[in-house]
């Protein structure tokens, strides 16, 4: 392959109000990933280029960006898989700090709100858990918090809603499906997390670098549980009777 035409979105809020794409020529090296090309620019052409990266092994989820308009990890996208005209832009769903770096700190406040792992009280230690029960939660625990699913989500990008976003549905599901956890977070996700806003377009699971079935296995499950609690006619009757009984007892 010949040289790469690499267009990188540059934006320095200290000097300008809007950003622009700047084109660089980068020599192609066999097997290189987009992060290699971007780092080439940083090391050889302009050291002030702001990028965020860490493990370069698709394990930490730091180098999220929009490569040829698709939310991707820079370290995991091979140049030979997309050709030598490449554009790299920061995640559009988050406020830009500089160049390719965005402010993703809103996620920490959301994570703080999700009720933490709450084990059954009084279990004998060390805990015994059947191997099969571990599997259910395992898929969700693969999440590396790259927030690409948040980035691609049109509910977050285009509508000002209270929807927490796919990452946080996965987080809640990972605990709801923990075999020893006693909480059910679906009602919380419905009331506080805006899970109802998700209209199951499945874009999030399409871009997930860990191939988590975010919509199918986390969001739909949580939605169904929330619906069961709220709208199941039999459950509603039982609930009403219970509350009546409780009133009588009082």
């Amino acid at each position: 392959m010949t040289d790469i035409n690499l267009k990188i979105y540059r934006f320095n809020p200290e000097e300008e109000s809007v950003g622009k794409f700047v084109e660089y020529k980068v020599p192609y090296v066999d097997g290189m990933v987009v992060l290699d090309a971007v780092r080439y620019v940083q090391e050889k052409i302009d050291p002030t280029l702001a990028i965020r990266w860490n493990c370069k092994a698709a394990k930490c989820g730091s180098c999220s960006a929009e490569i040829n308009n698709r939310p991707s990890l820079m370290c995991k996208t091979r140049v030979d898989s997309i050709g030598n005209n490449i554009s790299v832009a920061p995640m559009g769903a988050y406020p830009n700090i500089k160049d390719l770096v965005t402010d993703i700190s809103a996620n920490w406040s959301i994570l703080k709100k999700i009720p933490p792992f709450t084990p059954k009280p009084g279990m004998e230690k060390p805990w015994r858990i059947h191997p099969a029960d571990v599997e259910r939660s395992k898929e969700f625990k693969k999440c590396i918090e790259c927030f690409l699913c948040q980035d691609v989500c049109h509910v977050i990008r285009e509508h000002n809603t209270k929807y927490f976003g796919p990452r946080h549905m996965v987080k809640a599901a990972s605990m709801d499906m923990h075999p020893l956890d006693v909480l059910d977070r679906s009602e919380f996700l419905d009331n506080e997390g805006g899970i109802g806003f998700c209209n199951i377009t499945k874009c999030c699971q399409d871009v997930c670098p860990e191939h988590i079935h975010i919509t199918d296995n986390a969001i739909i499950q949580e939605k169904e549980r929330a619906a069961d609690l709220k709208y199941d006619p039999i459950a509603m009757i039982i609930k009403r009777r219970k509350s009546r009984k409780e009133k009588v007892v009082k």
């Binding site: 097997g31 493990c55 698709a58 730091s62 920490w108 994570l111 933490p116 571990v134």
Partner: protein, 571 residues
């Protein structure tokens, strides 16, 4: 000059937010004190996330004969008798509690058929001992601890790069840092400081380490006056990727061998039978790494300069279940299907056994008020670390450093530092922003190349001296290093700051390597191929007016009753 900066006051400042830093912060919070945790990267991205194979803890779930004494013996023997015996004891005894604690925080380990935590075999562990989550144990640990940090409301500043530890009257009492995403300087006033910044693998060209591991904690603590030791002990992991070039050095977990993977040279020979007939592929990392190195050097390597690692005999289902990340890593980076094809591997720099000298009980360094834990601290692993012991290390000693610093801070008084000290530091950092500065990345490239070429897996006097010469030249060049731009998210500036720490780390490594005229553990001298009883010692390093000062001190002798747990050393 008057500079602007923000002041943050706390009881304990924790630098670093990997496993050790997070566990230390939790311990301080539990002790009822204020804690501030700062990290160079984002929360939850630290190098701990890269740990794959598992955490070593003698639970005896799979092999009931296992107990802390056997684990202790393994640490001492494979650390080739220069580990601190007390740290080995504490680690072996407390690791199981830390594993159960993780579970109580919500971590989910793989299980045995009867529901207990499953344990896998790993190099030079006598029994199957590594509690694991497939091959992504580090991710599980870091996300579990991140949850605790968030829900316990630990105050943290991410993308905060610390440039100096503040010392007054011989006591560490805070630090100065630059918040990368805003460009603001911060002064953290603290009664004690915990350094948990991880290792320095990035001082080598080919390494499994992430971007962060530039030896920042080593440089900061050395400059503050703390003693470093065992710096010559750099671990080469036997199996790093070799192809394609972009991923050269990337780790292939030891779990591949733990699950039955074998090493072959280009002639198809299983050469570990020659080097280590008993333990074979599962001998200690230094042994296997040297064997791989020799096979490649002697012309029995692969097309891209590696050897083969073969797990295909285990079948596709087993591999995808037990080693999902490895399967994905090779599929997506190299286009190799490891269920059908052999992997090409070669040694890669992986871990620093040496670091800040600490008190085993509390993590207190030789400098009052300064504590350290995790990879940046030294003592536990001696001349060679066993796989799985670093995850045990960060939790066991992270917690202890947290408790130690909290106890210390309860008694300590606030120390006020003259604003001049902070102003001077900010001016120093400002000095790197200049028009005609030398590109830091070029200097870093020369430094890392020199280390890989001359202070590698096999060393000689001549080669090490070449490295020292280059380091000295680079120290001169460093005076003129600089970059354009501002303080806000400026990687060039960060490169300048990191390079300062990298120069300290590399000088310590090279000069200690030159001093130790023997071969022990990870340190192999071709000109001194044998282990030497004279060198049952640790090399300690301290800053003096004249530069680095080296002291050779005998290894602390273990109590008589403990000697039975480890085989006596043979020469």
């Amino acid at each position: 000059m008057e500079e602007t900066f923000k002041t943050v006051k706390t009881d304990v400042l924790v630098i670093g937010a990997g496993g050790a830093g997070m566990r230390a912060s939790i311990a301080v919070k539990e002790a009822g004190l204020d804690v501030v945790m700062v990290t160079k990267s984002l929360l939850g991205k630290a190098h701990t996330v890269m740990a794959e194979g598992g955490i070593a803890a003698a639970l005896g779930n799979v092999d009931p004969q296992d107990n802390w004494k056997v684990h202790y013996g393994d640490i001492i023997e494979e650390g080739v008798y220069i580990s601190n015996w007390r740290m080995a004891e504490i680690c072996a005894k407390e690791a199981p509690d830390r594993v159960f604690e993780l579970e109580s925080y919500g971590a989910l380990f793989d299980r045995t058929p009867d529901g207990r935590i499953l344990q896998r075999a790993f190099g030079a562990h006598t029994y199957r001992r590594l509690c694991h989550v497939g091959d992504r144990t580090g991710l599980e640990i870091i996300k579990t601890l991140e949850d605790q940090i968030l829900h316990r409301d630990v105050k943290f500043y991410d993308e905060m790069y610390i440039t100096k530890i503040v010392v007054k009257n011989g006591k560490a009492c805070g630090a100065i840092g630059i918040k990368m995403n805003t460009g603001e300087f911060h002064y953290f006033q603290a009664k004690s400081v915990i350094v948990a910044t991880g290792g320095c693998g990035r001082v080598y060209k080919v390494t499994s380490n992430s971007w962060e591991s530039t030896g920042d904690g080593l440089g900061l603590s050395y400059e503050a006056g703390a003693v470093l030791k065992d710096m010559e002990m750099i671990q080469f992991h036997p199996t790093g990727m070799v192809y394609p070039p972009g991923v050269k050095g990337l780790l292939i977990t030891e779990a591949v061998r733990g699950e039955g993977g074998i090493l072959l040279n280009s002639k198809g020979e299983r050469y570990m039978l020659r080097y280590s007939p008993q333990k074979k592929e599962l001998d200690a990392r230094d042994v296997v790494a040297r064997a791989n190195y020799r096979e490649i050097q002697e012309g029995r390597g692969t097309e891209h300069g590696g050897v083969y690692l073969d797990i295909t005999s285990k079948g596709a289902d087993y591999i995808k279940h037990k080693l999902p990340s490895m399967y994905m890593q090779f599929m997506e980076f190299a286009g190799v299907d490891i269920t059908k094809e052999k992997m090409e591997v070669a040694p890669t720099v992986h871990y620093q056994m040496g670091g800040i000298r600490v008190d085993p009980e509390t993590g207190h360094s030789s400098l009052e008020g300064l504590f350290a834990a995790g990879e940046v601290a030294s003592g536990l692993h001696g001349a060679n670390r066993l796989g799985g012991n670093s995850l045990a290390d960060i939790l066991v000693f992270g917690r202890r450093a947290g408790i130690g610093a909290a106890e210390y801070s309860k008694k300590a008084k606030d120390i006020d530092v003259d604003a001049k000290v902070i102003n001077e530091e900010i001016s120093r950092v400002k000095g790197f922003l200049r028009k005609d500065g030398k590109n830091p990345y070029e200097l870093i490239d020369r430094l890392t190349t020199a280390m890989s070429d001359h202070v590698g897996i096999v060393r000689t006097k001549e080669e090490i001296e070449k490295a020292i010469k280059i380091i000295n030249e680079l120290k001169e060049d460093y005076k003129n290093v600089g970059t354009l731009g501002s303080f806000k998210y400026n990687h060039g500036l960060l490169g300048c700051l990191e390079l300062g720490n990298m120069l300290i780390a590399t000088e310590a490594i090279s000069r200690a390597a030159l001093m130790r005229e023997e071969s022990r553990g990870a340190h192999t001298r071709v000109d001194f191929p044998k282990k030497d009883k004279k060198w049952l010692k640790n090399i300690e390093i301290k800053k003096a007016d004249s530069g680095m000062q080296f002291n050779v001190v005998p290894v602390e002798e273990m109590p008589e009753e403990y000697k039975q747990y480890a085989k006596p050393e043979e020469y």
